[in-house]
Structures are given as C-alpha cells and as structure tokens.
C-alpha cells in the first residue's frame, strides 16, 4: 500500500526536493515558504521518511568532482535458482550502489541482474567485478562503462508528475 499524502506533504516535498537552503535554520525557511510551522515541517518530514516516501534525506554529491569517474552498469546472467542469493550478495557489497532484477528479451538479451559500480578508474571497477564473479560463480556478465552522461536528474520532477498522474490537483488529500 502506498502512503497517503496530503496537500501539506506535497507542498513540503516541492519545497525541499531541490535542496534545503544552507542557512543556520534551514527548516525555518522551509516553514516560511510552505506556511507551516517549523515543528510541523520537521514532524512531517520525519513521517515521510518513516513511511518510505523519502528514501533518504541527505546530501547528493557530484562524484565526478571527487575523482570517481568510472561508472559501470554490469549486466549478469543469473540462473533463476540463484537470483535470491546472488542478488542479496551483490546488494550487500559496499561498492555496489544499485542492484536490480530486470526482465529479459528472449533470444536477444539474457542478462537479468544489473548492478551499478563506481570507481576511480576502469581497472578498479573491473577488479571489483572480477571479485563479484569469483565469489558467486556467475561467470557470464557484461561490463557497460558509461562514456557520456546525457541526463541525470535526482528527483526527476517526481512530485509534480505523480500528482499530475493521479489528480491534477494538490490542495486536498491524495491517495497516490
């Protein structure tokens, strides 16, 4: 079940999704913008985090600026019977940021488990992938290094789109 969001939650997500201001009392500024009290801002944000609408409330950094320039999507061909243990093992790897099981395209694409890894250079990432392969016995994989970033959005206008998809209105209780 998805959590119920009301108009105030939506206003809060809108006011914070591009980042809170770097001022001594940032949530007081957010309160001013949304017309809520500072206390309510904090309480509602906590609740949104508890119910999973906010996956993480924290900093996003530009990893390319700090020398983490190799980014690889690794596609693994994992037999059905191994998905649970291999998926769990990869997800538990500190260096893996994403681990996702995906549908395949029969006859054209048989890789079903995708991981994202970052590192200072390609050799580092290749070494990590080799270790992952050795420790799980999954030998059939493809490393897809990125050569250019065409688009990257953190929240991708998620709030606006979610609202538009459901009602086209915000100022009332939404079950979205």
């Amino acid at each position: 079940m998805e959590p119920q969001l009301d108009g105030r939650d939506v206003a809060l997500l809108r006011a914070t999704q591009d980042g809170i201001p770097l001022v001594p009392e940032p949530f007081r500024d957010i309160a001013r913008v949304t017309g809520l009290s500072e206390d309510e801002v904090v309480t509602r944000l906590k609740r949104l985090k508890e119910n999973g609408v906010i996956r993480r409330f924290g900093a996003s950094i530009n990893h390319r600026r700090v020398g983490i320039v190799a980014n690889a999507l690794v596609a693994w061909e994992v037999p059905q019977s191994r998905i649970e243990d291999v998926g769990t093992a990869f997800a538990g790897n500190e260096r893996v940021t994403h681990c996702i099981l995906r549908g395949t395209v029969p006859g054209r694409w048989t890789y079903n488990l995708f991981t994202v890894l970052h590192g200072r250079d390609r050799a580092t990432v290749e070494g990590l992938v080799q270790e992952m392969s050795d420790s799980t016995g999954i030998a059939n994989y493809l490393i897809l290094f990125s050569t250019r970033q065409f688009k990257k959005t953190s929240n991708g206008r998620i709030v606006e789109r979610a609202i538009a998809a459901v009602t086209g209105e915000v100022d009332r209780t939404l079950s979205i």
Binding site: P24, G58, T97, L101, V105, W109, T147
Partner: protein
C-alpha cells in the same frame, strides 16, 4: 569535457562531513549543530564547510531522495538503443525531452544509449516507448526494454574515506 578533480583539496573533516551528510541530515531545528556534535565541529563550522563544498560543486544538494514507487510511479524500465552516431545528438535530444526519463547515458556497447523511464503503470511505459520508437525512427529490433522486476538495492552515496 573533463571536470577538474578537487578531491586532493579535501581535508579529513571535509571527508567525515561528506560521509555524514550523505548518510543523513538530522530532521531537527538545528541540523548543523547536531551533525557537528558527531564530528567535533561547531554548527557554524559545519555550515561554513557545506557552503564551500557546495560552491566547489562537490555537494549538489541537501534534501530528500524521493521514492518514485511510493508516490505512485510504480513501473520502471531500463531501455537500451542502437543509435547510429550521425543521429545521436538528435535522438538524445528527443529522449531527454521526456520528464519520464531520469537518467540517460552513452555506454561502450553496440547498444550505445541507455536510459531509465518511470510511469504510473506498465501500460503507460509501453505507450511511452512506442511513442519514442515513432519519434526517433529507431525500430523495436534495435531496442531492449528491460523492466524492473525487483529492487535489491538502490543507494546513492559514495564513501569519501572519512573514517
């Protein structure tokens, strides 16, 4: 266009601070002071460092990472396309024009363009994809549609070695 690597200029407290704020910003009236308590820094110093890291382009933003699924965008897919190089910029322009596309990368493979799409349901995804086929002129035989079946992990922080 290579970006200047500013990693060398980060001191120990910067790294600790980056590790801490990537994990979480405390939801309290004085978040900077609370972060500082764990690191032996004053709230003022935390704020000053964050401002500098933000000006240097290392910190992009401090805020919520919203779960698309939890706000009703339940269907997601990864799409790979074979795009001829002479048509690359035109086609990337079309794809990036969709709000439903959150990430789009060129990758070192015969399928050279890889992007992610999210929508309220699978039908909307299918509809979007057929529109993209039509507008880009890339046929289905040159496209892989790899829908999300299960999220084992989604994380976006990077260990800065502050420990």
């Amino acid at each position: 266009m290579p970006e200047r690597d500013v990693d060398e200029g980060l001191d120990g407290p910067d790294r600790q601070l980056l590790d801490a704020v990537q994990r979480e910003i405390p939801l309290t009236e004085e978040p900077w002071a609370e972060i500082g308590r764990g690191l032996g820094l004053s709230g003022e110093e935390v704020l000053a460092r964050l401002r500098r890291l933000s000006e240097e382009g290392i910190v992009r933003k401090l805020g919520p990472v919203i779960s698309a699924r939890k706000v009703g965008l339940r269907a997601a897919t990864l799409v790979a396309m074979k795009v001829p190089s002479r048509k690359l910029s035109e086609i990337v322009g079309i794809i990036n024009g969709y709000d439903e596309v959150s990430h789009n990368y060129e990758r070192d493979h015969i399928y050279n363009v890889w992007f992610t799409l999210t929508a309220p349901d699978r039908e909307s995804l299918t509809h979007l994809l057929s529109e993209i086929h039509m507008r880009t002129g890339i046929s289905e035989g040159d496209v892989l549609n790899l829908p999300t079946e299960r999220l084992f992990k989604v994380r976006v922080n990077f260990n800065m070695g502050g420990r």
